[in-house]
Homo-oligomer: 203 residues x 4
DNA sequence: AATGAATGAGATTTCATTCAT
DNA sequence: AATGAATGAAATCTCATTCAT
């Protein structure tokens, strides 16, 4: 065995990469800075990752994106169930909320990078793709309530902005609050805003 | 004459800079490309602007930011007046809306760059600063309605996200629609969403 | 116009590249050294050539390789006509020889690089390809003299070595002698050796 | 025991080095790949050899070069004896040929590397040095036949090319044919070519 | 004696900025 | 005032060599 634990260094590099990526984005993040923050030499990064892109993919892996997609989808479905009902939150909603929070807190920077700093990477289009899916879910839901609903190009664009902003708000608040309680409070505020606003958009 | 020519070249460079900045952002925009689109030599750019950042500031000048601030402020104030009233839009609201649209259409790219592509410049904070002002306006308004209103750190952050997103939506829709009618329709949808959501946030 | 003549610098860079390539080969030649010898900054090389490979192709262009192929082919055909005849050299032989010498002296380093230092470039296989062609020409010629001629795998390999060495000798002598007279004398010696040896190989 | 193991590891490293050097040349061979093929750690290579160049020298040691020199010298002397005689090969020639073949087959890769892949090492000049010796032998021989023989610079260079090519052909055919019979047939073809050509060069 | 992680110099390439003309 | 060639710093990546264990 060599002088250090390989896995520990790898982990340090990935953590440093996430921090720098969240701050500067992919293009602005330099391997040199990531290495410096991880406390290793520049060249050593290449013992662990074939290149900058591979390092990014290790920091935001496919599997993580799949989980994120699932958690968000579930939550939006649960939210949809809440829009029309004026009663108390359903158990499904509560469960999805709990899942979401656990996920958000566990993967703070990873989510920030995946949804907010992926320009120039393979996840470049991820946010929009995800948002499109949420938009489609939302339209389907409101069409159930009003089968005559017509969705113009402009309205779809507005809806796209709404959901893009939902993710943007999540990213912004994740960056702002490391503290779980405050993060939750802020996200609940934003969620109320969003849920109350949504039906008005379709009016 | 020389003065006239000088101004014309300066103008061409600024226009080219706006186009490239809107497309690629500050980091991705190269002086060479801006010069090429402006039809001048690279070095000549430096006769008009001390550097890349100064060129950015010329493309999005303080005075423009002040105008934008004013237009947005007026509009937000007018919007606020609409939140509680369930009646038809006030004349002030209509006027602010008209002003906003004139402004948006006249300064499309400048707004896109100022609010959406300033990352990596000292104007990076501009958007947040502007948003902070809108947030303060909003809080003042809702405090009038309920003097006992307490605004926690989390709530202020949520509000910040809300207004940041209002600007983000504007930028996104400006990029999406060159057509004034569709732009207006989409912005109206988003505005309804926003206005309906806002009171719920404070609940 | 700028401070220097663009074409002159381009020429200087290509000359420097040829010199370094002839000394170190493609892999061993560094842009920094080429730039230093050309008397320009490293980065300036990239104003003239998109990259190392493009610089190589400018130093040894397609058109040059075509000419070289033509000159060599003609010469080998003329040589073939001399093998069997014991009389004085034919006019065709004299003309091909004159052409060859003019070509060799005019393109000294370019030939050295194309035939001897092309490893890792698009002309990597050029020498062998060219040699294969010469081998085929030689076999055709000797088959005319003796239709029953059989060429085994081993014999073809030996012939390949012979012609590969003919080009290698040319390259070596070009590097050795800048002086035309000595180069000619040495190449004539080698040619006599080659022409006398060739029939013996087929015996 | 430790000594025995040490020697065994050293041997493995040298064998791996020979294989990689023959494939990629000195510049293209990386210590990491040599170590991997030898089944040892990179750093361990440096316990046995001070550096890349020393490893090369161990792979092609002075003593081996001396043997090669002797075998070649003997063979060239024997060949010389055949040039003028038109009779059957002498017993000395047959013996030298047998020795040469045994040597070639036993040291395939080492010869390939020593004579063909030494570029960029201090053995770079080895081949030329060896060739110079062969050239001197040849001149001495032809001077015996014609004491008035004058050897110009150009002629010596041509002769140098001839013998350099003799080694090059050997290397090329060694790489081409692992099969002893074909190797022998091809080398015999080349040898006939060489022996028939040599007197013509001096004419 | 052996490991292989770590280092750091050097390679190619890009681009904001300078400067001779 | 204008040109655009030239500069040089910085980025990504490779690899011979070192060194803590």
């Amino acid at each position: 065995m060599a002088q250090y634990q390989k896995d520990e260094v790898r982990e340090r590099i990935v953590e440093a990469a996430l921090a720098v990526l969240a701050e500067r984005g992919f293009g602005g993040a330099s391997i040199a800075e990531i290495a410096r923050r991880a406390g290793v030499a520049t060249g050593n990064v290449y013992r662990y990752f074939p290149g900058k892109e591979a390092l990014f993919e290790a920091a935001v892996p496919e599997s993580f994106v799949a989980s994120m997609r699932a958690v968000l989808r579930k939550r939006v479905r649960a939210l949809a169930g809440v829009v029309d009902a004026s009663g108390p939150p359903s158990p499904a909603f509560a469960a999805a909320t709990a899942d979401l929070f656990r996920f958000l807190l566990e993967h703070r920077l990873r989510i920030v990078v995946a949804l907010g700093r992926a320009e120039g990477t393979r996840w470049d289009g991820l946010r929009d793709e995800l948002v499109d899916e949420l938009v489609t879910l939302a339209i389907a839901h409101f069409r159930e309530l009003d089968p005559a609903l017509r969705v113009t190009e402009a309205r779809r664009a507005a809806l796209h902005a709404v959901y893009r902003n939902l993710t943007a708000a999540t990213v912004a608040l994740l960056l702002r609050f490391a503290d779980g309680a405050k993060l939750r409070a802020a996200l609940e505020d934003y969620t109320r805003y969003h849920l109350a606003g949504l039906p008005a958009l379709f009016r």
